[in-house]
């Protein structure tokens, strides 16, 4: 049914992990279930579970087979899953992310505008005009997968990925948008750059964002970008969270 399962699928992932899959698509209800199960399992602390990895549509559970068998673990997770509420009470946190759009900071802004027969300023307006959900953190340390991007600016990835995308780059891939926390190879259409830091191994937790958070982009000037960049460099920039 549109890639949203009526009941979760439990799938072995090698000899020491399993996946609980709630659907095959990017979907709010599916992601809610993933995060709700993640939080419920963190509270349940079932012996043998070693790590939980929530993604768009599934929860990966790494376990120690010497402590618990697959069958027993599945039975215990099912018990937790059956008690989940339809929509979890997610603690809403909203982060405002300043972005300088276009130019050297966003080399693909023009392409995205042309692709939709639109203008650069229209693309900026659409991109920064919406609140996005953090569906998951993945790819590289601290990279937030955000959605859903309005159809007016949703654009396919580059055919040949770039070998180096600078840290802070804000990109679009179909209906997803994301921020590169560090320099990495990548195929997303880069439309701007933020000076803020998204990951630091000294932080606890090390990633600024977590699944379920909300992100809103705010267009800034190049001068403002440089001002914030200097603050970040000396550790004087405070990320703007609203609870």
């Amino acid at each position: 049914m549109n890639g949203v399962y009526l009941s979760a699928r439990y799938l072995p992932f090698g000899d020491a992990a399993l996946t609980v899959e709630f659907g095959t698509v990017i979907n709010l209800a599916v992601n809610h279930k993933v995060i709700a199960l993640n939080e419920a399992l963190m509270k349940a602390s079932i012996p043998g579970i070693e790590e939980l990895v929530p993604t768009y549509r599934s929860l990966l559970i790494r376990y120690d087979p010497a402590k618990i068998t697959y069958e027993r673990l599945v039975a215990q997770i099912r018990e937790v899953e059956e008690k989940l509420k339809e929509t979890p009470r997610e603690k809403k946190r909203k982060l405002t992310v300043p972005v300088v759009y276009g130019g050297v900071y966003g080399p693909d802004l023009g392409f995205v505008a042309d692709y939709h027969g639109s203008t650069e300023s229209q693309v900026v307006k659409f991109h920064s005009g919406k609140e996005y959900r953090v569906y998951m953190i993945g790819f590289v340390a601290g990279f937030p997968y955000l959605g859903d991007v309005p159809d007016e600016i949703a654009t396919p990835r580059l055919e040949t990925p770039r070998l180096r995308v600078p840290a802070g780059s804000v990109g679009i891939a179909e209906k997803q948008t994301g921020i590169y926390p560090c320099e990495a190879p990548g195929g997303w259409r880069i439309i701007g750059r933020t000076p803020i830091k998204l990951f630091d191994p000294q932080w606890q937790p090390p990633a600024l964002l977590k699944p379920g958070d909300t992100v809103k982009f705010k267009p800034i000037s190049e001068g403002e970008f440089q001002r914030i960049e200097r603050l970040v460099a000396i550790g004087a920039y405070k990320p703007q969270f609203e609870e």
């Binding site: 799938l11 072995p12 992932f13 090698g14 000899d15 020491a16 992990a17 996946t19 899959e21 095959t24 698509v25 990017i26 070693e50 790590e51 939980l52 990895v53 929530p54 993604t55 768009y56 549509r57 599934s58 990966l60 790494r62 087979p65 010497a66 068998t69 697959y70 998951m136 953190i137 993945g138 790819f139 590289v140 340390a141 601290g142 990279f143 997968y145 926390p181 560090c182 990495a184 990951f199 191994p201 937790p205 090390p206 990633a207």
Partner: protein, 316 residues
């Protein structure tokens, strides 16, 4: 405490322990030794904890000078070891005096050798581990491979009175042909029966596009049922992805934490450790086993690792 100074760093030498667990949800890969078994054995030969940090040497050895009296062991891929120009054996405790040089040659069999130091290597613990993740600039010495001039720090621990060696029958042999037992799934249903058959009956070759992140394999194309993409979900070392070109990719220790290609199968833990010794042009064959069989093999492997310390032979 300064233990060694690096004279020649080799091709790619990094500090690794058993890995950085618990941070996948933040996008941080596991990292850690590619061949866990050899690394743990190296630690036990100098009476360290299994998780103490060692050097992982890739294909070409390191040369270093001892800044203090110490003890080391070299394990993993077959590599010539010399202490002050004299040949020294692998898989046993070796004593090195202050001022002596330790030099390792070219890896002749396998891909990665491990050099353990009595007491372990002392680098800052980053997110629970000393493992180097070069791409993310985390762990090890400044998050990078070793370079000439680096000082390797250790801990001040009393030297071992008893030296050890690994029994011959427990030394792994790396032939360049890897038999990898897999559990099918989590997305095996995205492949045709013919595709699964191809995967399980063909011999694949490790290509040059292979490193600590993963191995791209060359060989018969695996047929997808329909789409060759999924909405990204989590990856772990051992996962075998098949992108649109039908050629499998084995995910290794430094891989990205999520991926958008269907995973036909996942390599079992003991064989994943062996795979850490695969290099370009080696061959890989996949064998399906049930979860129950995988469970038995996992427990047996765990017992082998935990019983290893008692099996070591005293050499003095």
């Amino acid at each position: 405490m300064n233990v060694f100074q690096v004279l020649k760093p080799g091709f790619l030498t990094t500090v690794q322990d058993l890995g950085r667990y618990g941070y996948l949800k933040f996008g941080v890969p596991v990292s850690g030794a590619m061949d866990t078994f050899s690394m743990v054995a190296g630690n036990l030969l100098v009476a360290n904890n299994p998780n103490d940090a060692c050097l992982e040497i890739t294909l070409l050895g390191i040369e270093m000078q001892a800044l203090t009296d110490t003890q080391i062991a070299v394990t993993g891929g077959l590599i010539p070891v010399k202490i002050n120009g004299e040949n020294a054996p692998m898989w046993q405790t070796l004593t090195v005096r202050k001022g002596e040089t330790v030099s390792l040659g070219k890896v002749a069999k396998g891909c990665r050798s491990y050099l353990s130091i009595r007491g372990g290597i002392n680098t800052p613990i980053v997110l629970g581990s000393r493992s180097t993740y070069v791409r993310g600039k985390l762990g090890g010495i400044e998050g990078r491979p070793l370079k000439a001039g680096d000082i390797i720090q250790g801990f001040s621990v009393p030297p071992l009175r008893d030296c050890f060696k690994m029994p011959e029958n427990l030394v792994p042999q790396f032939t360049g042909n890897f038999s990898v037992h897999v559990v099918l799934g989590p997305q095996a249903d995205m492949f045709t029966e013919k595709g699964i058959e191809t995967f399980l009956s063909s011999s694949y070759t490790v290509t040059m596009e292979s490193d600590r992140m993963g191995y791209r394999l060359e060989g018969p194309q695996i047929e997808h049922r329909d789409r060759a993409e999924i909405v990204s979900d989590a990856l772990l070392p051992g996962a075998i992805q098949v992108p649109g070109n039908g050629k499998p990719i084995i995910i290794m220790k430094d891989a990205q934490t999520t991926g958008g290609y269907p995973k036909i199968a996942v390599a079992t833990t003991p064989d994943l450790d062996m795979l850490g010794q695969a290099k370009p042009n080696d061959t890989v064959r996949f064998f399906e086993i049930t979860l129950e069989e995988a469970y038995e093999r996992f427990l047996e492997y765990r017992r082998k690792l935990s019983g290893l310390a008692e099996k070591l032979i005293k050499t003095n």
